[in-house]
Structure formats: C-alpha cells, structure tokens
Symmetry: C2
Subunit: 313 residues, 2 copies
C-alpha cells in the first residue's frame, strides 16, 4: 500500500466565507501556510511528535488535533495496519481567521497521501479533511479545507465534493492580519440568536450576484455581490478598527472587503496586483490607527492549493 | 413622443422564487398570461376602463391596480402630458402563485411603451414594473416582473437591473395549479418569525449549487440545489396535498420541485419535455388525491417574455 516512509507537504492559508459565502465559500491565500512532516510507523496509531512555530499550545493528543484527527480518518478509510507520526510546522497564526487549524489537517493528509503507492486525487481527501477541521471548529464545514485542497476559489456545500470556481487571473486578494486574536468559538457565539428573512433575502441576493459575476468574469457584479450584510455586522465588533479598515480598503479601490474566516483578519478583493498592494497598505495603516500592527499578504485569488514537497524512504 | 394611440401587449405567467431564490429568482411560464390594451388619452391621468376574465374583483382605481400603478410610474418617468386608459384581460388566476398581479403591470407597460415613437428597451421598464407589483405585494421585489420582461430565468436583486441567466433548452417546467387560493399576504405571514443561521447556510449552499449548475449547464448540480429548506417548509401547510405532490414529482423524475411564487401552484424542473409531461401528470394526480383539481402547464424554462401584440392609430 505504501511506497514511501516519510513525506512533507504544505497547505496554504485560506480566506473562509469570503464574506457572503458563510461556511460554503473560501479561497486559498498565498504567502502563508502550514508544513507537515508525516512518517509511517509500524504501530496501528496516529501520534504527534512535535508542533513547531505555534504561537500558543496546541493539542498533542492526535484525536484532539486537526492533523491527527484527519490522519485517524485517513487510516480508517484506508484500513491500513501501519500508523502515522506527525510533525507540524505552523506557519499560520492561531485565531487569525486564516484557516490555521484546517491547514494542518490538509497538509498532514497530503503528506500521508504521498506515502501511498497509488495516491488519491487530492479532492478525495476532502471528507477526512472535514473530520480534521471539525475537531477545532465543532462542525463539518469545508470553506477552509476545500480551497486548501483544490486551490483558488471553491464552493463547499456540506459533504458534497467541493466545486472549484475558476476566477480571472486579475483578481487579487489583499489580506491584513492584525496582531490580536479572535477565537473561533467566540466568533461563532456572536452569530447566535435570531435572524430575519429580510436579512437572508439581501444576503442571498449578494451571493447570487457574486457567483454570477465570478462565473461570467464581470467584476462589477462581483463588487456588487461582495457585501456581507448578515455575518459581518455581528462579528465586526470583535475586531478593533474594523469599520475603518474596511472603509480604507474600499476608498483605496477594493471591489469589496470583509472579515477573513472568523476574523480578526480582513480581506479585500481587488482588480490587479498594483491595486491590491495599494489597498493592502491602506488596510495596514487603518489598523495602525486602531493601535494594531498588521501583517499584509497580497496574492491572486487563483492561488495553488496544497502540495507534496518531498517523499523519502 | 407618441407614434400610436393604441397598443395591446401580452405578459406571460411566471414562477417566482424558483424555490431557493426567494424574492430574487423567477422564470417565465408559457401557456398563461395577461393581455392588456392601452389607449392614449388627452387627460393627464391613468384610468382603468375594464378588467375582463378576473375570477375576483380587482381594483379599478388606477393607483391601487398593478397595471395602473405601473403606468402612473411610466407617465412620471416620461413626463408626458397625455394619459393612458387601460383595459385588462386576465389570463392568470388570482392568488395562484403565477405572478398574475405582476403580469398585468408588465403587459400594460409593454403596451404603453409600444405607443412611443422611440420605445425603451424592455429592461428599462423594470423600475416601473416594480412600482406596479408593489401595489399588490407591498414590497418592491422583481422575481416575477423581471422574468416577464426578459423571458427565461432571471436574477432580480433589489433595484439593480435584472440579469438573465440563460438555461439549456432541455430544461422544462411542469406547473400544476390547484383550484384553491393562497393569498399573497397569508403566504407572507407564514414567513414571519425568527430564522436560524443554520437554515440560511443550508439554503445559501443550495442556491449556490443551483446557480453554479445553471451557469455550467450541469443538471446534477441544478437538482442538488433545487431544494428549498427555508421557505417551503413554512408555506407548505397552506397548500393541501403539497407533500404528496412534491413527492410524486420527484418520483416521476423531476430534478426538483417546490412552491411556485407564494403558492398554491407547484412547479417542477425536469430534463426534457417528455419527462416534464410525465411529472406534470403525476402532480395533477397527486392533487386529485387531496381532492383538488389542478391545471397543468408544461413548457421550457427558456420561455419568451412579454411582447407587443399590435399597435394602432
């Protein structure tokens, strides 16, 4: 079953939700990601030997760790006698809204898959990646793991095979990560409570415009649709300076801007790299007004997904 | 400004909402519609001379009638000295969920537009059609008037220019109108109350699959998406026999089925005419089990919109 004993894989960060696609849309984000080293072991178990570069303590118990849980799911699926030992190099800050927990799961899966004599197409790792992600988020949603597996913008609805939505090469993302933390659970708690049908109608109209704009490559429709009226207003209070950062992005020419994943990072979609760099600087400056340092990433929305970096005997 | 003194136009029925696109999606429905005769008058007003074929009393006061209100909006927009006299021939039953109030407004606008020396493109009549529709429904939503103006399947978000979404010629609609009435206001009342975020996530996932399926011409995605989990469960109790009718449609091979507009009509999307006819018969038989006679319409989703039938001096 296995051709190699050791493999290293990388999974990029991601922008979950993309504002108007709560729990169903996400895109890969270049410039950051997790790297995971997986070794075949003769014991029938999954264990985590080390986590490097984490900015806070992450669970070493495999079943409680997203990478560990993903490989437990993979072992169950393969029905193999061997086990895996995992070494994680975190490149995505905790609680940043960049899909850090998902990236460890996806990188671990892609590395373990690389050990196989006949590796699976990466899309087939999706159910196991959902199992990994669920350990951190409490639910099976694929808006982070799906774009990490497929690259670019991806529609991930429930357990269905995720669908890649190709976008124009000119679409860039400017992504500002402020040095503060919003815990996923707190961000979810902000969404508790009742919603009105009118909010849904407005948001679904925006989602429909966005998807139609993406499908047709019409940036005016994308801009009209990239306007989250449902989740953003409830989560924005958790992010210091959010209103100013969003306004700065729009004034600098962004097509739209909203919260990346559960926040506190803010993303903006832009037309062209130069525009995205200008927008990104404006966002970082606006975070500075709120006394927050922020790290900037700028890259095309059509960013490659996870990849196997090396295999060894 | 005017080249003719009299014109007759037809507007087809429509399937509002299309299940998963509440207030934002609709498509034209062939085989039924309203016909409106508009005459130029020298008085600066809009009046309704007669309404034929109505199965209940409709307002003859122009401002309270959807056709009248639409032409009042058109007069305001044109700034013309002349007025219009309207004669309406209803071909769409009241409270059927087939867009009857919208069709009168659209047919009146298309007829009045035909009187102009330089008629507007039909899409430019959209804001006036919204004003007409609002008289009956209490809000400006274009899921009926937009497909009546443009034909086929249309995305209508707020006041934005509606967007035609071309669909494959093989997509047919089977539409069963049972002989009972659901008043639009009662149907709206069923939607009052609180919604949960989880309902929204599921419905927006379905909407995204549906739109992606339509854009790509992938019927499996359309079928996966055409599943209203938000509005249908709340309105279904207003429609005798609904569950059985929907089940009959799906068992007969429909891609999906739901409530047409505010009901009580039920529509099903099918692949090919023969399938739609089979599905339609199954729906009519299922309504019969609930002691309801039902009228069946079968036609392509890509059905032409309103048209000018004749003009005269």
């Amino acid at each position: 079953m296995f051709a190699h004993r050791s493999a290293i894989a990388f999974a990029p960060a991601s922008v979950g939700n993309v504002g108007i696609g709560f729990d169903i849309l996400g895109h890969a984000l270049s410039g950051a990601g997790d790297r995971v080293h997986v070794r075949l072991i003769d014991a029938p178990e999954v264990r985590i030997s080390a986590i490097h570069g984490a900015d806070r303590e992450l669970p070493l118990d495999a079943a409680s760790n997203t990478a560990g849980a993903a490989l437990i799911a993979l072992r169950d699926s393969l029905g193999c006698a061997e086990g895996f030992e995992i070494e994680i190099h975190k490149g995505i800050p905790f609680g940043s809204g960049m899909g850090g927990s998902a990236a460890s799961a996806v990188a671990a899966l892609v590395a373990a898959n690389g050990l196989l004599r006949q590796p699976l197409p990466l899309a087939e790792l999706y159910p196991m990646a959902l199992s990994g992600e669920a350990v951190a988020s409490g639910s099976r949603h694929g808006d982070n793991v799906a774009p990490m597996l497929l690259g670019g913008l991806v529609l991930a609805v429930g357990e269905r095979a995720p669908i890649k939505l190709p976008v124009q090469a000119e679409l860039y993302c400017a992504h500002a990560h402020p040095h503060c933390v919003v815990e996923t659970r707190a961000a979810r708690a902000a969404l508790k409570g009742a919603y009105e049908l009118g909010e849904f109608v407005q948001q679904s109209g925006h989602l429909a415009l966005f998807l139609t704009g993406v499908a047709r490559g019409e940036r005016e429709l994308i801009a009209a649709g990239l306007n989250d009226v449902l989740v953003e207003p409830r989560r924005a209070p958790l992010i210091p300076g959010f209103a100013g950062v969003k306004q700065a992005a729009l004034e600098a020419g962004a097509l739209g801007a909203s919260i990346s994943g559960a926040g506190p990072s803010v993303f903006a979609w832009c037309w062209g790299k130069a525009s995205a760099e200008r927008v990104g600087r404006a966002m970082v400056e606006a975070f500075a007004v709120a006394d927050l340092k922020a790290d900037l990433l700028v890259g095309p929305v059509e960013t490659p997904g996870a990849k196997l970096l090396s295999v060894a005997h």
